[in-house]
């Protein structure tokens, strides 16, 4: 029996993937393993939901043809060294016509050049750092708000409560977090906040005692920063363990994952800049509503959708729209449509810069700020900023 199973597996490997002409291949890598895997997998699931829905509905209509969507994915192990090899393989060997970017700004920066070298459009759904899009690329399309925007809401929300709060900026040494921190620093200074601590840490840092002691010594009242999941969650736990008595904490990325609730009390009150929350009810020009997406996602994966999942789905949706509008799967024609698009989906608004120095940079999408609050004894995320989209009041101060 087991032999048969093995044989089948081998046969599946050997047999060339047979697909008809009307098949659209989209290639991407995801971080199944490595430090980025939590968010990367969430993003991937969003994309898969889109693919399955499109195929169930008969595929993407381009002109007279209907294309079924096929994904080819490889594990990049969260390592830049593999990304280029794999994207090249996706284009050259697997004949991908379109690409989705990997997760995280660092990996996107590594993958970006391949899209340019081979002239394949790449939708970036998990790389917020703007630098990659300022190098003269012609085939990159950023779906999410860029890094500079991340903490804008968090800073404004803090200013609304205490315009002169003592602020600690603590962030991971990676391209994304650094870009976020640089922008946050400028905003905070312009708004009159008092930056009492400005520290970065290595992304694989496991012990934050030194930084937290410094935060306490600097009498900081608020802390913004963080990086990705592993370091952010550790930082949150240690802030709680060491009773840093911060009135306000905003961390990147990590608190957006449903898994963050496993930190228990340490998660309470922490805010997170979010690309999307289900409560933010945009009126979509096409595609599902936020609520419908969240419902379908939860039904398929038995887990709540976070913004990375929404991004994965939105990337697919926007590509589909562009192909349908252009009536072809020709790379240049589709990119031309994307360049001209100004639309709103369940994910929010989409519009990219088209000047050569910033081609593909997202300029229209807006972020929200969410906070972990207690509701009927359970930890849940509520949108607390901007006021217009708010589902609950910001809890301030935390202590």
């Amino acid at each position: 029996m087991r032999k048969l199973y093995l044989l089948a597996a081998v046969a599946a490997l050997v047999a060339a993937p047979a697909f008809a002409d009307d098949m659209l291949t989209i290639g991407m890598t995801l971080s199944q393993t490595g430090p980025l895997n939590v968010d990367s997998v969430a993003q991937q699931r969003g994309a898969e939901l889109w693919r399955d829905e499109v195929n169930a509905a008969g595929g993407i209509k381009a002109g007279s043809k209907h294309y079924k969507v096929r994904f080819v994915t490889y594990d990049d192990q969260s390592q830049g060294g593999r990304v280029q090899q794999l994207y090249t393989r996706l284009i050259v060997q697997d004949k991908s016509q379109f690409l989705f970017g990997p997760y995280s700004s660092g990996l996107c920066a590594t993958a970006a050049v391949i899209s340019e070298q081979y002239g394949k459009p790449m939708l970036i759904t998990g790389g917020a750092e703007a630098k990659t899009l300022e190098l003269g690329n012609k085939y990159l399309v950023q779906v999410l708000s860029r890094a500079g925007e991340y903490l804008a809401g968090a800073i404004r929300a803090l200013e609304s409560k205490n315009a002169h709060a003592k602020l600690a900026v603590v962030y991971a040494d990676d391209p994304f977090s650094k870009a976020v921190a640089v922008a946050a620093r400028k905003l905070a200074q312009a708004g009159g906040l008092d930056i009492v601590l400005d520290e970065s840490y290595a992304p694989n840092t496991t012990d934050f005692s030194a930084i937290i002691n410094k935060t306490i010594s600097a009498s900081a009242e608020a802390l913004v920063g963080g990086g990705h999941y592993a370091d952010g969650a550790t930082l949150a736990r240690q802030i709680h363990d060491q009773k840093a008595n911060l009135k306000y904490i905003s961390l990147l990325v990590a608190p957006d994952s449903p898994q963050f609730a496993s930190l228990g009390d340490a998660a309470y009150g922490i805010t997170v800049p979010s690309q999307w929350e289900v409560q933010a009810a945009y009126k979509p020009d096409f595609g599902p509503t936020g609520a419908a997406f969240a419902k379908a996602f939860a039904a398929k994966f038995k887990i709540a959708a976070d913004y990375h999942s929404a991004l994965g789905y939105a990337g697919g949706l926007l590509l589909q729209h562009a192909i349908e509008q252009s009536g072809s799967i020709d790379a240049d024609k589709v990119v031309a449509v994307l360049n001209a698009m100004d639309v709103t989906t369940f994910f929010g608004r989409f519009k990219i810069a088209t000047d050569p120095g910033h081609h593909g940079l997202q300029v229209a999408h807006e972020m929200v700020l969410a906070q972990w609050q207690r509701k009927n004894g359970r930890l849940e995320r509520e949108v607390v900023w901007p006021k217009a989209a708010q589902t609950a009041d910001l809890i301030y101060p935390l202590h």
Binding site: Y74, Q85, R89, T110, G136, D173, P175, A179, P203
Partner: protein
């Protein structure tokens, strides 16, 4: 006068190299690498071979320290990364042409290696191995904080950088041929070292350092030279690799995993053989490429590489070439 003498000696050595069959074997390998993808514009093959050239370069140069002199260098990747950084930095910040930036990277990194080498080569065995890890980590931590090199965010190259090479598509071919050249140079270097008095001294150090010193081998100098020599070509390869990537960040440039992969390659092929490092690199790249992209094995690729390495170390410590020499002793004369 002394310059003239060495020139003649080097000349004679070169002449004697050409008479040996292995010289021509290497030449054939280089030609195969250069021609195979060029015929029919086979981009797919080129991409696979491109990584093989990088691996062969890293493994051949690691072999000089690890195979000949018997020194475990966990941090050989630091040359690759520093070469990449120097090259990308000179191009992006100072607008140097690729060739000049490459040369500067190679020279600077070799010099730095000489300095490091004179420091840590007093250490032996495990202490040396630990120090090489330390150097790699220290350099990575330093570069992460070094703002002129972009710190943790790394350095980016604009796509216009490929213009002088005929646009992004043609640049890939140019970079590939340059990497093949660097690989070829690595193989010749490895071979030349092995068949020189210098190489003999290194191998003597590898067998028994104390005895070698007694026999008059200037061990510290030889080790430092070998360390520095084995830095030059990896630095060039790093420069080309990250130029192609158009992006470099500390975690990619100084990835300890790549160092350990290079060691696995040397072991797989057979320590202190030129052919072994090359074949080992090629096989490893193919195996890794397969494991990485196979749906069945991708989650077990670490397990498989680990188990393979363990079996080699336990049961075939001579690697592939050791096994071949065992079956076919005359092989030693043809395949160095």
């Amino acid at each position: 006068m002394s310059g003239k003498t060495t020139g003649t000696v080097a000349g004679e050595q070169r002449a004697s190299l050409r008479r040996r069959p292995f010289f021509w074997i290497i030449a054939a390998v280089i030609a195969a690498f250069a021609l195979a993808p060029a015929i029919g514009n086979n981009v797919e093959l080129r991409e696979s071979l491109l990584l093989a050239t990088v691996y062969i370069t890293l493994a051949s140069n690691l072999n000089i320290m690890l195979g000949y002199a018997g020194y475990i260098n966990f941090g050989s990747i630091v040359f690759f990364g520093l070469g990449g950084y120097t090259c990308v930095y000179l191009i992006s910040a100072h607008g140097w042409p690729l060739a000049a930036a490459e040369l500067a990277a190679g020279v600077a990194v070799s010099f730095l290696a000489l300095v490091f080498g004179l420091g840590i080569l007093r250490l032996r065995g495990a202490f040396f191995a630990l120090a090489t890890i330390g150097i790699n980590e220290a350099v990575q931590a330093f570069v992460s904080n070094f703002e002129p090199w972009g710190g943790a965010a790394g350095l980016y190259l604009p796509t216009t950088i490929f213009k002088p090479l005929g646009g992004p598509m043609r640049a890939l071919w140019v970079v590939y041929f340059l990497l093949v050249a660097v690989m070829g140079a690595s193989l010749y270097l490895s071979y030349a070292v092995k068949s020189s008095k210098f190489g003999l001294g290194l191998i003597a150090i590898g067998q028994n350092e104390d005895a070698a010193v007694v026999l008059g081998v200037p061990a510290p100098l030889y080790k430092a030279l070998a360390y520095s020599l084995s830095a030059f070509l990896p630095a060039l390869a790093g420069g080309l690799y990250f130029f192609k990537s158009a992006f470099i960040q500390p975690s990619d440039a100084f990835d300890l995993n790549l160092s350990t992969e290079a060691m696995v390659i040397v072991m797989l092929g057979g320590r202190s053989t030129v052919t072994g490092a090359a074949i080992g690199a090629y096989l490893y790249e193919e195996l890794r490429g397969y494991l990485l992209t196979s749906q069945t094995f991708s989650s077990f690729q670490l397990v498989i590489s680990g188990a393979l390495l363990l079996l080699i170390v336990l049961f075939v410590p001579g690697g592939l070439m050791g096994w071949i020499y065992g079956r076919w002793p005359r092989g030693k004369e043809v395949l160095e």
